[in-house]
């Protein structure tokens, strides 16, 4: 049984929603984004922005696991012109991203998911399991000015692709393919309400993941256009990010070390951590006038696993959440005396912990209670 929703006439209060028809540039008045008619505004907007013609819409919602309420939603429109094109859209945004370099990440991801171990403010402890996001998929069809919400469809396959060169990682320099997230199901029939729920588990490596759906509509009372196997929706981008990291600013007395791993930039930190570094420099220069503190590592732009060995694995495990920096003295690292001086200066200036990591740097961090993982 399907539920057909007709495009309603504009209400007096509604603001006309105007979009440009693809190709001929004629202005077409689209259905108003009126939630009361049962079609989410994101879906209507996706059609409008996609050209306004007939086509299918995949609507993905993030669900609050405790309340069941929709947290956010994002719609992907596949116009009729693309129906014949069954070529799988690849996760090759990385090709463009390679040229774009840092940062290559999608500026408008569907969902921001904190990667594994990034729940610092709540638990002060890096969890061992990946972060999960509960989601639900709906499908819509827009045909001859009418909205149709499909209530009987099957996801034939759900595949995930890690977008290369995102999250600050330069994939080509790594020893293996970038880890990607996973879902609890990869296929299956929608439920009685026309929902296809699934859970996405982010990997601890920050970056973007594309989610690609192949699906088939089984609603028998829908126009033929809307039925049958459908082309894959455009990839949904799940971004695995630890937000609010900032780049540590260059300043007098603080030099950047060279980046020797396959990462675009490793000098990000929380604002708090970044604010401590000028103090470290000031106190260091109190004892070594004119001395230079060299920052050799912080976190990646969106945090997450900072695999300096380019293996998508530890060590360097703590540089995930912007609370940790590696320091030594310039030039040449400084020797044991200066490293010990930097270690003690870190503690004096506000870092909670500092440890000498022979032979070449001091690890300073203010993360309390972290037990590894």
């Amino acid at each position: 049984m399907s539920r057909t929703v007709r495009a309603v006439a504009l209400s007096v209060a509604a603001v006309p929603f105007v979009f440009m028809a693809c190709g001929d540039q004629n202005e077409v008045t689209a259905p108003a984004p009126n939630v009361a008619n049962g079609v989410p505004p994101e879906v209507i907007r996706a059609v409008a922005e996609g050209g306004g013609g007939d086509g299918h819409v995949l609507f993905l919602k993030q669900i609050n696991p405790k309340t069941g309420a929709v947290v956010s939603g994002k719609a992907q429109f596949v116009p009729i012109a693309s129906v014949a094109d069954s070529t799988r859209p690849t996760s090759a945004r990385g090709a463009a991203a390679t040229a774009q370099m840092q940062p290559a990440d999608n500026p408008n991801p569907y969902v921001t998911v904190a990667p594994s171990g990034l729940h610092l403010p709540r638990t002060y402890r890096l969890p061992q399991r990946d972060s999960a996001t509960r989601n639900s998929l709906n499908t819509f069809c827009y045909y001859n000015g009418q909205w149709h919400q499909m209530t009987d469809f099957n996801v034939d396959s759900l595949t995930i692709g890690a977008v290369v060169n995102t999250g600050g990682h330069e994939d080509a320099g790594h020893t293996a393919a970038k880890p990607k997230g996973r879902t609890n199901r990869a296929s299956g029939r929608s439920d009685a309400l026309g929902e296809w729920p699934f859970t996405y588990y982010a990997d601890s490596t920050a970056g973007d993941d594309d989610l690609l759906f192949y699906y088939t509509i089984y609603d028998t009372d829908e126009p033929a256009f809307c039925r049958g196997p459908q082309p894959p929706g455009a990839p949904y981008v799940f971004a695995k990010r630890w937000p609010e990291l900032i780049r540590i600013e260059a300043q007098a007395g603080l030099a950047y070390g060279s980046i020797t791993s396959a990462h675009f930039d490793i000098f990000y930190a929380t604002p708090f951590t970044a604010a401590l570094l000028p103090y470290v420099v000031e106190l260091y220069q109190e004892n070594y006038p004119g001395g230079i503190v060299r920052l050799t590592a912080g976190s990646l732009i969106y945090g997450g696993l900072n695999d300096y060995l380019n293996t998508w694995r530890r060590p360097h495990n703590r540089h995930r959440v912007g609370t940790d920096v590696d320091l030594n003295a310039a030039p040449g690292g400084g020797g044991a005396e200066r490293l010990e001086a930097i270690r003690r200066t870190c503690v004096r200036s506000g870092f909670v912990h500092a440890v000498l990591e022979p032979p070449d740097h001091v690890h300073c961090y203010h993360f309390v209670g972290y037990t590894g993982g």
Binding site: V280, E282, R314, G335, A336, P358, G372
Partner: protein, 350 residues
């Protein structure tokens, strides 16, 4: 909260609401250089207090608190330069299981001495200073023993100048215009730790917990505020508000309810407005014995005078002690000349 301290005659210091210090020249700094041999033993004998090591438990890890430090301080005041010199001798009791390789002194920021703060270390050691500034969350000073080979660091073996159990080392010197008060001390033993397992990233505890901790004498900017002192039992205020006396703690405020060991620093501040106190009339007795000459102008600190007393070289006794300070001036409430008295009682452990 730091409220406004109206400067008394002598204008040692002004504390503004923002907490900035604006030291001015002390007019009466004419005392001859004196020397006190002071003893402050935060941990005496074989008692070793376990440090808070925050659950460190990987194989081979060992806490650095298995030392038995005894810190002896010798202070002197140079009235010409206006500088106090603090000479420390660090002993490690024979009961210790580790050699001492670092000594840290720390104060609360507002009690910490500002620049100039200098330190010198004996051969084989390095001295670092952290004077009061916005950058220093834990101001003070640090001494640590150097490795035999600076390029190899810990791989070259334990620092040769470390202080083994049963031995002591002198030559640790701190110089400051700030008078003595209490600071926290953190003494660490040397531990050659194995590398942690690859699947672990253990966090070692902070130096201030992974150490033997105590109190010792160190330059201190006393924080004495009229808004706090009258209700603060730790600072004994004069009845007419002309002066108050206190034993400065690492926080810069008065020591309260603590049984003291070793040396006892005492600070005096004149709380009345400038011109209301006749500084030259200041007198002090300790257990009934005149000790006025033991007090020196505290040029740059929050107090007007400071002294350090030690058993054997002063009237200080084990058990209850009573210091009485008097000064003449004008009662700010009545406008009449008066003599104000501040009495401070404290206990010293035998």
């Amino acid at each position: 909260v730091v409220s406004l301290l109206v400067p008394s005659r002598g204008d040692d210091v002004r504390l503004t609401a923002a907490g900035f210090r604006m030291p001015t020249v002390e007019a009466g700094a004419l005392a001859l250089p004196l020397l006190w041999l002071l003893l402050s033993a935060p941990k005496v004998g074989a008692q070793i207090t376990p440090a808070d090591t925050m659950g460190m438990n990987y194989p081979g890890w060992e806490s650095a608190d298995q030392v038995a430090p005894r810190i002896t301080v010798e202070t002197s005041y140079d009235s010409v330069s206006g500088l106090w010199t603090y000479r420390y001798t660090i002993a490690n009791d024979a009961s210790a299981r580790q050699a001492i390789w670092s000594i840290d002194f720390g104060l609360d920021p507002l009690a910490a001495p500002s620049r100039p703060l200098t330190a010198a270390a004996p051969p084989g050691w390095k001295a670092l200073v952290y004077p009061y500034s916005q950058a220093a969350l834990l101001p003070g000073a640090t001494f640590f023993a150097l490795y035999a080979d600076d390029s190899l660091g810990p791989a070259s073996g334990p620092p040769p100048a470390r202080i083994p159990p049963g031995q002591s080392l002198s030559g640790f010197v701190v110089t400051s215009p700030y008078p003595p008060g209490y600071a926290r001390s953190y003494v660490q033993g040397y531990v050659q730790l194995p590398a942690p397992p690859e699947d672990r990233d253990p966090i070692p505890p902070n130096d201030t917990t992974n150490s033997q901790r105590g109190l010792t004498i160190f330059p201190n900017q006393y924080i004495i505020t009229p808004s706090v002192a009258p209700t603060d039992a730790s600072a004994a205020a004069g009845a007419r508000g002309l002066l108050r006396t206190m034993i400065p703690s690492p926080s810069g405020k008065g020591v309260r309810g603590m049984t003291l060991r070793g040396s006892v620093p005492i600070a005096v501040t004149f709380a009345a407005p400038k011109g209301k106190v006749q500084r030259a009339t200041f007198r002090a007795t300790l257990n009934g014995v005149e000790v006025t000459r033991a007090f020196h102008p505290a040029q740059s600190g929050g107090a007007d005078f400071a002294a350090v007393f030690r058993r054997g070289t002063s009237p200080l006794v084990a058990g209850q002690n009573r210091l009485v300070a008097t000064v003449e001036g004008v009662d700010p409430r009545t406008g009449r000349s008066t003599i104000d008295t501040s009495e401070l009682r404290f206990t010293v452990r035998p």
